[in-house]
């Protein structure tokens, strides 16, 4: 459990928010909600609509597709954006591998937050580009 100011301090160190000013970070911290998940809890569910965008504050999450673990995510990583951007249910379960604390933004709010914070959008695009590059390397 953290105060808004503590959350601002935490996310200021995340690459996703690296270009935002303190007032912008404070505004972001108020728009997101904090949620906590025990180990083993499903955060996103493969195939179910209406999920949200999450940024990991603490803990570790597993990316599981059809029951098979494909990757792990840690502090500062984010997930859920692909299904929101495409308007489709998630293609993977995201499961708390350890007690997990995330900042959550409801799917319908993601569009406005990205449009209002172009630098955040750019950083997210960079992260997606890296994921795509790594996926292509893995396949080749």
């Amino acid at each position: 459990m953290a105060t808004r100011d503590e959350i601002v301090d935490q996310i200021a160190g995340f690459a996703l928010f690296a270009d935002l000013t303190t007032p912008q970070l404070q505004r972001i911290a108020h728009m997101f909600e904090e949620e906590a998940y025990p180990e083993g809890a499903r955060v996103l569910r493969q195939g179910l609509s209406g999920s949200a965008f999450h940024i990991i504050l603490d803990g570790e999450a597993a990316v599981v597709i059809d029951g098979e673990q494909r990757a792990t995510l840690g502090r500062g990583d984010f997930f859920g954006e692909v299904s929101i951007l495409l308007g489709e249910p998630p293609v993977a379960d995201i499961v708390a591998a350890r007690p997990l604390r995330t900042l959550v933004l409801a799917g319908p709010q993601v569009h406005d937050v990205l449009i209002d914070n172009p630098s955040l959008m750019y950083r997210m695009l960079q992260a997606q580009a890296r994921r795509l590059r790594n996926a292509n390397r893995w396949r080749s």
Binding site: P38, L48, P108
Partner: protein
């Protein structure tokens, strides 16, 4: 050992108080709507328990708040369905739930007709009347002061220290509200009064009032002070959300939107998106508040005669975090399972508004209504059933549904089940589909538990029936099919008048049931 809860233990002529210190199978703490509803529901299931409350009488937060003495949740005395009974609960957000007709729909009978939002005293009377009519008794004036664990030959138990002595139980249910005033660590915040300490409205006559916070409590104060204050500033970093825009209960409710209209029409109210840099006392009297605009503009120095912190409340969990209860978020809510059990300390459950810490699927970002009576009352009934089953082994087999009646059962639930209307995408009617025994009604189950295969209904093939919304304004049925452990979601098209017993809905539901051979 345990003392049965029930009318027999009510305060008698001799002043005997029920539930003396001792050992009980279950202890419920709190006598607001959550605690009273859990206690009633446990008793109906035959679960022995003690109900303890620090207050002198039932009502919980409604003994004091909302500050301006009128609720945000409505009860329609005249609704599309007859008063009383299950279908009417959709239109009555404030009555508690009873199985007996003469104990149902108490709220509308206590309202004076001036508003479909009951007054605070009417709501307090509603809770008290429910407790009295159902014989739900509590040990009032008994304050929980500390908690510890104790290992016994029978296993671990909790010890609840109270002003009346020690209680022991392996299962504790806390329904103590989210009612402890919270103020952020802003420099000078000690100069601000909290919402909880707001004075009578007329004492703000001709004063410049600065309100920190733009949620319902901030806008409630602003609304109430409009006829009195000379100027009102509402300020927080992110823009105000309005429920009419989010098309949900997220955001400022329509009743409190007047200050926002005053702001946009230039009437003298200011609604600012800025963080508070600090509050300083002015030598000549009053305060200067430094506001830092979220858009990065120059700091604003705003003079005020009064600064009020409408920054919310936290959960009064006393020493439970030290005992192992994980909390999260601004309200310090305990992290919970789908059945409202602490996710880090088994045996500790939560009811009432604290239940919002069990977020469920929160589809499309829309939270359940667990923070309000019309959501929490169904959670409480579901929780009581879960405790009876999972903790005390009092399992019951759900009634069979004739295969020929399955379609009508589903359509009937979609049309009038208040649990589904009030706890959308959160609670579901579950019907097991065992090929041998045929369809059975497994009751109301948290949807998150169902889709994760952790519900009291088990993991077999089953159907979950619920209603959902996506923030677009539409409310629509969704059926979840669980087959061989896999869950598939099947939405049904909405109806402009929200009639879910139409031929079009029946046709879609029938097609979905055909997928599972029904």
């Amino acid at each position: 050992m345990a003392q049965l809860s029930g009318p027999a233990e009510a305060d008698g002529p001799g002043g005997d108080r029920p539930f003396p210190p001792g050992a009980y199978p279950v202890i419920v703490v709190g006598s607001g709507p959550g605690g009273i509803q859990v206690s009633y529901s446990l008793r109906r299931l035959g679960v022995e328990h003690a109900l303890l409350s620090a207050d002198p009488s039932p009502g919980g937060m409604f003994r004091r708040w909302p500050f301006f003495q009128r609720l945000l949740s409505w009860t329609k005395p005249y609704a599309p369905v007859e008063r009383g009974g299950r279908a009417y609960e959709r239109y009555d957000w404030n009555s508690l739930l009873s199985d007996e007709p003469d104990q149902q729909a108490i709220m509308p009978g206590l309202m004076d007709g001036t508003s479909y939002f009951p007054s605070r005293p009417e709501m307090e009377a509603n809770i008290a009347a429910f407790a009295e009519r159902t014989g739900t008794v509590a040990r009032y004036g008994c304050r929980w002061t500390a908690t510890r664990r104790e290992e016994t030959p029978d296993g671990s138990t909790f010890v609840l220290e109270t002003t009346d002595g020690e209680y022991r139980a392996p299962v504790l249910v806390f329904a103590v509200g989210v009612a402890e005033p919270f103020s952020p660590p802003t420099p000078g915040i000690e100069l601000a009064a909290h919402y909880a300490d707001t004075r009578a409205a007329e004492t703000y006559a001709d004063r410049r009032v600065f309100i920190i916070g733009k949620q319902n409590s901030g806008f409630e104060l602003a609304s109430g002070l409009l006829p009195w204050a000379r100027r009102i500033v509402l300020c927080s970093p992110s823009p105000a959300k309005l429920s009419v825009n989010t098309r949900s209960l997220v955001g400022v409710r329509a009743r409190y939107v007047q200050p926002f209209e005053d702001h946009v029409l230039g009437g003298g109210v200011s609604v600012l998106d800025a963080s508070i840099g600090g509050i300083e006392r002015r030598p000549e009297g009053g305060f200067t508040v430094t506001a830092r605009p979220s858009d990065g503009g120059d700091d604003l120095l705003i003079e005020a005669d009064e600064v009020i912190s409408a920054t919310g409340f936290v959960t009064p969990l006393l020493d439970l975090p030290a005992l192992g209860v994980t909390t999260f978020g601004q309200s310090h809510l305990p992290a919970q399972t789908a059945y409202w059990e602490s996710s880090s300390l088994p045996g500790i459950y939560f009811a009432g508004t604290i239940g919002q810490g069990s977020a469920g699927l929160k589809k499309h970002g829309l939270p359940a209504n667990s923070g309000a009576v019309h959501g929490a009352r169904y959670n409480a009934r579901c929780l009581a059933r879960h405790i009876a089953r999972a903790r005390l082994g009092l399992a019951s087999v759900g009634p069979a549904i004739a295969p020929a009646d399955l379609l009508e059962t589903v359509v009937g639930e979609l049309t009038s089940a208040p649990e589904l209307w009030h706890q959308r995408a959160y609670l579901a009617r579950v019907i097991s589909l065992d090929a041998t025994t045929g369809p059975r009604d497994e009751g109301i189950v948290p949807l998150a538990a169902f889709v994760d295969g952790e519900g009291d209904d088990g993991q077999g093939d089953a159907l979950a029936v619920t209603l959902e919304a996506d923030g677009s304004g539409a409310i629509y049925p969704v059926l979840y099919l669980r087959r061989d452990g896999r869950v598939d979601e099947r939405p049904v098209e909405s109806d402009p008048l929200l009639r879910f017993d139409t031929p079009a809905v029946r046709e879609q539901v029938a097609a979905i049931l055909a997928e599972v051979g029904r």
